[in-house]
Point group: C2
Chain length 125, copies 2
Amino acid sequence: MKPIGRVESPLTDPAAAPKQGDEGGAAAWILFDPGVLDGLTDTTPGDRVIVLTWLDRADRAVLRVHPRDDPSNPMRGVFSTRSADRPNPIGLHEVEVVAVEGNRIQVRPLEAVDGTPVLDLKPVL
Amino acid sequence: MKPIGRVESPLTDPAAAPKQGDEGGAAAWILFDPGVLDGLTDTTPGDRVIVLTWLDRADRAVLRVHPRDDPSNPMRGVFSTRSADRPNPIGLHEVEVVAVEGNRIQVRPLEAVDGTPVLDLKPVL
């Protein structure tokens, strides 16, 4: 697993970041590694895409959680939740491409914080 | 990245497997690693989930493809396609949970072939 790029976002505090993009996600840039730019040639403003991220601050040993970090929610197995804490903390973010400029694209709304590694970009089917 | 389980499917030939689940995907089992079973406790038949797989037969050096392996389709950057060949070949499969039995669940329709490593399972939002 090798990041293809990184998130540049005004969101910097994981504790304050929204849990889902539509709960206050920001317009954010994704900077692509120069070595993968040929893969970006047909990405266009207006596209709806799924950004896959590696949530590098997550706790990979966690298997049960209180959903939404709310202790009043009964514990659940992580595979029935969208918790970032899970064995392979891959984030899925459905966003719109707003701009494409050289080696970077702007997308929104994205809840991933600044510096988050990006693993892949796929069109919404 | 550590697989949490593997696909058990009647689909064994990658060349003959459908490109998307709804194009002839099979009912398939996912066998979970005993070490992650606590994460599966609240997964229930009828759930709609996204299975994340590692497409281990993919060519990770590919950045441009003819979509759907059809040479008559103009070449496109892989990030605007669902090609399995891409730098981080993570498959996303939206399926329904059909059965839950101990350390395995049955899902459908899944186009991933037998033996494919599974990375994660998330509810559809």
